[in-house]
């Protein structure tokens, strides 16, 4: 199947990275779609946790917010938010945390707080939410992002959450014991950190994307792995699962009064 959008490729490429025994802290948007596609395809037993306190959810439709009733109804159990952050996140029970970004640098550091100066911002963004501790408490971090020069920048305006800092062993120097960002999946490529410098390098390019497109939408000079693959295109099953999920979601969320 070749009839797919870059967004779909991004979601499906992210879904493939998840294992059946992963415990994922899921954010809204592309991460939520990816996690649920994984659950509905190759990873039926994956544990999805949303920061609203729902543990082991299997929603029929994607939630619009992090705390939709659907998440609670389909969860194994729902705990309070303080417990979620204490026992489950800080307790070190999450294998994969998914984060998005307004600004991302080459070392996986993320800004979702402000554009411009913090005290006199050009744009006041929503802020970090769970991200500052997700970034350091989860076993590893996967980042999904649509490439754009204003998003992939050489220097972020604010460290909402810490990736690899200045690179190298910066995490260890701060006493952080988790791996941090190990994967960046964009609408054009799959990136992984260089084992030494921790700078993200492209390992796989999605069909239809080019090195030129990747560089044009990235604010730093892109580096490539020695062997760059083409990302396998979505299978019929993957694409069908994603589209069905999104169709169910649109139907459920668009109706206002008749959604009952």
């Amino acid at each position: 199947m070749t009839d797919f959008t870059p967004d779909e490729m991004m979601t499906i490429a992210a879904a493939r990275q998840l294992r059946n025994d992963d415990v994922c802290f899921v954010g809204i948007g592309a991460p939520s779609a990816a996690c649920n596609v994984a659950r509905l395809t190759h990873a039926p037993d994956i544990t999805l946790i949303y920061e609203s306190g729902t543990i082991g959810t299997s929603p029929e439709v994607l939630p619009l917010s992090i705390g939709d009733g659907e998440l609670c109804e389909t969860a194994l159990t729902t705990v309070g938010v303080p417990e979620m952050f204490r026992y489950w996140l800080m307790g070190g029970r999450i294998s994969v945390g998914f984060l998005g970004a307004a600004q991302l640098d080459r070392f996986g550091n993320i800004n979702t707080t402000v554009i411009g100066d913090y005290h006199n911002p050009k744009v006041r963004l929503p802020g970090g939410g769970g991200a500052p501790e997700i970034a350091t408490s989860c076993g590893e971090i996967y980042i999904t992002l649509k490439q754009a020069p204003r998003s992939m920048v050489s220097k972020i305006d604010f460290f909402t959450s810490f990736g690899h800092g200045e690179g190298g062993d910066h995490r260890q120097r701060l006493g952080i014991k988790t791996k941090g960002p190990t994967l960046l999946i964009t609408d054009l490529a799959i990136w992984r950190p260089d084992p030494e410098t921790k700078e993200f390098v492209v390992h796989s390019i999605h069909r239809g994307a080019t090195k030129e497109m990747i560089q044009e939408t990235c604010g730093w000079t892109v580096r490539y792995a020695d062997n760059v693959d083409e990302t396998p295109v979505p299978t019929d099953d993957e694409l069908g699962t994603l589209r069905d999920l999104q169709a169910r979601t649109t139907a459920a969320h668009s109706g206002k009064r008749d959604a009952a």
């Binding site: 303080p82 769970g130 910066h170």
Partner: protein, 284 residues
């Protein structure tokens, strides 16, 4: 019980100009009706406390009621930014507001510390993050056993907390279920507690022994307001009005449109309209 009072009285008895107030709810059970009553009564100089200030805080900020907001994620969930709050921060319209920003983990644990009567929460957090540079309330202490540097934040101890819940029994005990968020913690952390509920039932007999319940002696006032969380939702009663959240993005994008909407839907309205608003959203 004299605890059951009309919403207008519950608000006027317990909220005052200058208070630190939390209208809490984590997507679920957001006390919109109580917040609208507070808007109608026109309080000033409030410090608004909440993990996820969303449209109801956007409304209060847009009405100029807040001098300060303490928060960890200020967005319209699943939709985007809070445009009235941005206008206040970026353009000081209708007035300047101070912001004190935390992570979710810090906020949740600050409520937990407040509920526990402690002056602070201690946790592993903020490592490598910039928030400690811009929020002087965030400090670090050293673990006397391991030497690890741990983050601290002051406990939240609001003057008054407003929450919405499913049910109260005749004695005024309050039941919360579903996504319980920080509802219990904010209530126990606050000096005064006002609860709006979907309904009053005679008693909680035959319920599971481990449910989330606030005993009547922890609650100051209860108002029965069916639909009182709309456009948020009440698990077991009605669904989230996602369309209303999408609409808010438009309404809040324009100062005049906002003012007109507030006049029609809040200032000229009453708590009774909430029951009507959730009619089409009810669970089977």
């Amino acid at each position: 019980m004299s605890k059951f009072v009309p919403l207008s009285q519950a608000v006027s008895d317990n909220l005052h100009d200058g208070d630190v107030v939390a209208f809490e709810g984590f997507t679920h059970l957001i006390p919109h009706a109580a917040a609208h009553e507070a808007i109608r009564q026109g309080f000033k100089d409030l410090t608004l406390l909440r993990m996820t200030p969303d449209i109801v805080y956007d409304q209060m900020i847009g009405m100029g009621m807040a001098k300060k907001v303490i928060f960890s994620y200020a967005g319209n969930p699943g939709v985007g930014l809070l445009r009235r709050m941005r206008d206040a921060i970026e353009n000081e319209y209708p007035r300047a507001i101070e912001t004190v920003e935390h992570s979710h983990s810090a906020m949740a644990q600050a409520y937990e510390a407040g509920a526990s009567g402690l002056p602070l929460a201690v946790f592993r957090g903020y490592k490598g993050a910039d928030l400690p540079k811009v929020n002087p309330d965030i400090k670090m202490i050293e673990c006397p056993y391991t030497g690890e540097k741990l983050a601290t934040v002051p406990a939240h101890q609001p003057d008054v907390a407003f929450i919405h819940a499913q049910k109260a029994d005749a004695k005024g005990n309050v039941l919360i279920e579903g996504i319980i968020g920080v509802q219990k913690e904010v209530a126990l952390a606050a000096k005064r507690v006002v609860v709006t509920v979907e309904e009053m039932v005679p008693d909680f007999a035959d319920l599971h022994p481990n449910l989330c319940i606030l005993p009547h002696w922890t609650v100051d006032a209860i108002a029965v307001v069916p639909g009182g969380a709309h456009p948020s939702y009440t698990f077991g009663y009605y669904q989230r009005d996602n369309a209303a959240y999408l609409d808010w993005d438009k309404i809040s994008s324009d100062r005049e449109l906002f003012a007109a909407w507030m006049q029609e839907n809040v200032l000229s309205a009453t708590p009774e309209v909430f029951a009507e608003r959730v009619r089409g959203l009810k669970n089977d």
